[in-house]
């Protein structure tokens, strides 16, 4: 992996996240910043097998963003990878655009599932992984879940199902930023010990710093025979913009006049970039 290339990609994705939000007038920026390094490593760290000019290529690996509200990050990565023109990113959520506030299959090249309602991506991915097993294909399936999303009961139905089916072609990354829309995760629902829960369910569990691309890549390529892999990626919600980091209100909010210059400086954005 070219570390420099991945870091540059992550930086560009973060820029795009704000540019998208700027044009759209809002969005779930905190979540998008949180998963940026994971998505950058998936697409630009020689992890996912894909062909942007042939999105349905049969040999491709598949990535499902179960926490669909973080899609600005995915849209940026897909555009940068060449699935569609970057110019489209300036029209997210607008009439005539195929890019909405949550991603849709078919309409957006490279999007593998329509997500948005939480707790759906895991079971959908299990279905894909099982189908590939039946066809004796070695395509790998990656899913990003939010840690708050893991409060959904359906996630735990899937958590039981994937090890039972011995789906070692499935890797789930939990974006463990420890915040949800209203507050600190743990103060709302007690989820500790988080990694141990997955271990007890029969997953191959790896815990990493979700902003260290080398660690992320190593974890994404980890396999254990007959076991699905669960990566607990310790992340920071709002990562990259100091005043957003670890502050729940930035789940869905736009910066004011005082905050904007700070954001632009920290992300390396110019006035020109926002046109």
């Amino acid at each position: 992996m070219d570390n420099e290339k991945v870091s540059r990609a992550a930086k560009d994705i973060r820029k795009w996240i704000y540019i998208i939000a700027h044009h759209a007038g809002g969005g779930h920026m905190g979540a998008a910043f949180s998963v940026t390094d994971i998505i950058a490593t998936l697409y630009f760290g020689d992890v996912l097998k894909y062909d942007a000019h042939s999105p349905k290529w049969e040999e491709r690996d598949q990535f499902i963003l179960s926490k669909g509200h973080a899609c600005y990050s995915l849209y940026a990565a897909l555009a940068m990878a060449g699935y569609f023109p970057e110019e489209e990113l300036k029209h997210v959520g607008m009439p005539g655009s195929r890019l909405g506030g949550h991603p849709k299959i078919y309409e957006v090249p490279g999007v593998e599932a329509s997500t948005g309602a939480l707790g759906h991506g895991l079971s959908f991915a299990i279905g894909i992984a099982y189908a590939h097993k039946m066809d004796k294909k070695d395509n790998h399936i990656y899913v990003i879940l939010g840690d708050g999303e893991c409060q959904e009961g359906s996630v735990w139905e899937g958590a039981l199902s994937a090890p039972t089916l011995e789906l070692d072609n499935l890797t789930v990354i939990v974006d463990h930023n420890k915040l949800q829309a209203m507050d600190d995760l743990e103060s709302i629902v007690r989820m500790r010990p988080f990694a141990d829960k997955w271990k007890a369910f029969g997953w191959n569990v790896v815990e990493i710093n979700g902003h260290n691309c080398a660690e992320i890549r190593e974890a994404l390529l980890t396999r254990e025979e007959k076991k699905p892999t669960l990566i607990v990626a310790n992340t920071i919600k709002g990562k990259g913009v100091s005043f957003m980091e670890n502050v729940p209100i930035w789940h869905y909010r736009m910066p004011n006049e005082q905050e904007l210059p700070v954001l632009m400086r920290e992300l390396g954005l110019s006035e020109e970039d926002l046109r």
């Binding site: 329509s114 759906h120 959908f124 279905g127 189908a131 039946m134 039981l160 199902s161």
Partner: protein, 308 residues
């Protein structure tokens, strides 16, 4: 009906490796030959309906044709969002198969009854809803579901339903079947209750009233033509379903009647905004819930007498 479904699906799965029988821990014994002959194509996912349907959608995205089966109540209510988002919104080729239609799980009580499932599911875009009335029709509907590209909800009874067809016929999705011709009144039924509706025809006959009987085996898309024809040719229209009168067959037919611009005397027979009362056999249940042939006949007579 269940045996007819399982036999049909078994034959389809043997011929087409894309066909999968997913179940949520329901009907273990009847799956013995699946376990033996269809390794991998048969999968008991345990008591996790939402996971089963999400997974079915994922499999369909890879070209598989999953038939996801369990008690209809657990599919339509517990897993509604998975049916909506994973299957219908993404237009996945998943067959959702619910057993115990209406009050067929009579003595098990309302938690196991599917008496609002049509109401829950009928508004979902892309979903085709089949509600066959007899074992022969279930076999045909299962094959039609397989041949249809797109999401299907197949509403089955349980076992032991009587055959209502005396001879073979052409089953076509979206085309109701006229089981008996008649000039005075038209009764439209769906699913389990059709056998009872045929008894109503005999009872009315004895009173000199000729009833046309229509089996509406497809709830969506609904056969509008057969309804409009009935409005023009008979004097009154009665729908019968072991389902609430809100949202199901009666509502669907009412929409057609209301938009037709033609007036007709119209009555919906079914549960009236209540969960089914009582326990017992299916026959006991339709008696206690005023859906037996005698009660339906009374409603038909009232409907006709109002006109004079």
């Amino acid at each position: 009906m269940r045996t007819a479904y399982l036999d049909s699906l078994y034959n389809l799965a043997q011929k087409d490796k894309r066909v999968y029988a997913l179940i949520s821990d329901n009907g273990a014994i009847v799956y013995d030959k699946y376990r033996k002959d269809l390794a991998g194509q048969y999968l008991n996912l345990g008591i996790s309906e939402a996971n089963m349907l999400g997974m079915a959608a994922g499999m369909a995205s890879c070209g598989k044709i999953p038939f996801a089966y369990t008690i209809g109540a657990f599919l339509a209510y517990r897993s509604l969002e998975f049916i909506r988002n994973d299957i219908c919104l993404q237009n996945m080729n998943v067959k959702i198969v619910g057993t115990g239609a209406g009050m067929k799980y009579s003595a098990l009580g309302p938690t196991h009854h599917s008496t609002e499932d049509l109401g829950c599911l009928r508004s979902l875009p892309n979903l085709t809803i089949l509600s066959p009335a007899s074992p022969m029709e279930v076999a045909k509907a299962t094959r039609a579901a397989y041949e249809h590209m797109g999401p299907i909800y197949l509403r089955l009874g349980t076992n032991g339903e009587q055959e209502i067809y005396e001879q073979d016929y052409q089953f076509e999705i979206g085309k109701g079947v006229t089981l008996a011709e008649g000039d005075d009144i038209t009764i439209i039924g769906t699913g389990n209750i059709l056998a009872e509706v045929l008894r109503v025809r005999d009872m009315l006959n004895r009173k000199g009233i000729s009833a046309r009987i229509i089996n509406m085996h497809t709830i969506k898309p609904l056969d509008k033509e057969i309804i409009l024809k009935a409005i023009g040719e008979t004097k009154a229209l009665v729908t019968v379903e072991d389902h609430d009168i809100i949202g199901g067959l009666g509502s669907a037919v009412a929409e057609v009647v209301a938009e037709s611009g033609k007036g007709t005397r119209f009555v919906r027979v079914g549960l009236k905004e209540n969960f089914a009362v009582g326990y017992g056999t299916y026959s006991d249940m339709i008696g206690q819930n005023k859906l037996c042939a005698e009660e339906i006949t009374l409603r038909c007579l009232e409907c006709l007498s109002d006109m004079s």
